[in-house]
Symmetry: C2
Subunit: 415 residues, 2 copies
Amino acid sequence: MMIAKTESEAYVTQLLEDLGAIGAERGGGITRLLYSESWRRAQSFLAERMEEAGLEVRYDRVGNLYGRLPGKSPEAPVILTGSHVDTVRSGGKYDGAYGIAASLAAVRELKNRYGQPKRTLEVVSFCEEEGSRFPLAYWGSGSVSGAHPLELADTAEDPDGVLLGDAMREAGFGREDQPDPRRRDIAAFIEVHVEQGVILERTGDDIGVVETIAGQRRYIVTLEGEANHAGTTPMSMRLDALAAAAEMMLVLEKAASRAGEPLVATVGRMKTAPNIPNVIPGTVEFTLDIRHLSETLLTGFCEAVLGKFRSIAERRSVGFSIQTALLSRPVPMDPLLTGKLEQICRERGLAYRRMMSGAGHDAQSFSSLCPTAMLFVPSRAGISHSPGEYTAPEHLATGAQVLTEMLHELAYTDA
Amino acid sequence: MMIAKTESEAYVTQLLEDLGAIGAERGGGITRLLYSESWRRAQSFLAERMEEAGLEVRYDRVGNLYGRLPGKSPEAPVILTGSHVDTVRSGGKYDGAYGIAASLAAVRELKNRYGQPKRTLEVVSFCEEEGSRFPLAYWGSGSVSGAHPLELADTAEDPDGVLLGDAMREAGFGREDQPDPRRRDIAAFIEVHVEQGVILERTGDDIGVVETIAGQRRYIVTLEGEANHAGTTPMSMRLDALAAAAEMMLVLEKAASRAGEPLVATVGRMKTAPNIPNVIPGTVEFTLDIRHLSETLLTGFCEAVLGKFRSIAERRSVGFSIQTALLSRPVPMDPLLTGKLEQICRERGLAYRRMMSGAGHDAQSFSSLCPTAMLFVPSRAGISHSPGEYTAPEHLATGAQVLTEMLHELAYTDA
């Protein structure tokens, strides 16, 4: 099956430009927060594009937007593809938006070339994934899977104290007569996304086929030493919380290196008190972010490292406490779908690699519902969540083409 | 020479209570910033006490306050004793105030018992030492030594943009007709101070006889790595500025331990950017505060450690730059005066030790002008620069008595 590379490339690139103007800021970043004015304009824009492509457009009760191409077997479960329309604050053009653009380009192309599929194809623009406005990420795909019941809307508040439910209603959603977001009719979910990492750029691969979305552990570690005068307190009489933290950070780094890829472990945020040049730090609070594709290895690593931290704190007579901030299990992609994606890449002569997704995605909401697969395209320098986010048009096009062929196989053939 | 312990103790304790009420805050801390209203009241209060004690009171042009007991030989250089009246924000009752109280108690006692001394005795309340309002510490004693020319008053601004010179004039100082602060007529300067450290409390000594005021090096180290996604960036592809800082902090700690007392080395303040839990830290800035009583050892230590830091940064491919924030040489106290203080302690059966002053003091301004000596009394738990600052009345009294005997020897005898 041949798809005109330039037409697909042009469609996706143009869609991303147009969508990237919605919520664009003077500094170059894009901010489209759930239910905001720019968010509404973006969904309206996509709804128009879906209509233009000949799809049946509808929203569900939480504002997820679907464009449907009905199949010859209407009762057969649906092949779903898409991503999220919201952004982080001052984000880039590609995160989420690319998945929607590629899905729309693919389904439009398939309809134009092959007409009605055997099974229904739907493009989705999920209303929210990033958790950048309300402390509730994956509100879109989580509502579809049932992980986030509608009642949660009345518990989450944004930094200005606005309830998610109120914002939802003000945006025209949350009505009883609108379709329940939960779905049980999905046969498969395929998502394409920019990698947000540096692996594909470094290895020179065109496509990353995701095997597993990493499990995550996030902790907050608090150390209590004794603040004291930096000039008058001998080294042997100190309880320096920052020195203790430094020892722990090095232990973490060494353990992560020893564990080997794909384990990643990061101390991203650190608070020191009193944080004055001539005072020994009495209190330090730092975050841990640890990810791996194996639940067993992830749990084992965390237990071992936190145990080492405890020993260090004891030896240094520094108070030690841990709070678990996040615990999410690895999410495996469907082996058959993943195998199909690889086969498509091989047949097209594309350089590809199997890889872990270090970041969370809407695909993880679906894994318990139906077979799910993801593919990545390279990100320049791994930059994401910033205006510097970039993927070259040829890579955008390649991802869209692989997706198109995948959807063709799933919706038009009997394979 | 016998001094009624209880009378001296009562005088000093009462003076500290009264002075401690001036600038007192609801939280228990004391704030008396240079030239502020509470500062003026404190100096007025002390001027009254000096008059009550029969001393001739005068201010100099920058607001240093002197109480003079003229000697039989008026041209002979002056024996000076005292400390600073200002505080840090929300400081304690003893830092600086104790030195003034002990000096006043001592000179008052000597006058009452022995009348006119051979050499003139003066008690001084220096206007400023802490650098807590303007970025110019030792404004008081530095004006006396000449280290701080008067012109500096028109360069220093407080956080509200007020010029030191304007504040000085508004407080009634800075006039041509007021005495030039610079003095060339001082034979010796003796300062008593609370230790602000834990050594005397731990060793159980009553008195610390200062040998040297530590030299200091303060640096700001900036590391530039690469901020990136904590989930998607493999460990081997990271330039983690915080991990680099952690390695450096441990190296510093080990080197300081190996160097042994009295070297102290501290990372007190650290800034991490972007300081977000799921982003690898791209930039870290941390302070170094290193002190020792030997200029050679201090310089050697800093060179070695900064060299190690540079190597670590290179190995980790992290950008590295250092800014020197402070460079002050160790200040030796006068051996003869120090020897006299020890002799007095021995004769009184006091437990004492020779020690380094890890903190800077007004005494360091005088060391180039005249023989200088300092003695310390214990600080509970080493707490300073906070309302928790405390020294027991008996220790306060002991320090005042040693000072009295020292001043007697210097001003009343031919020794």
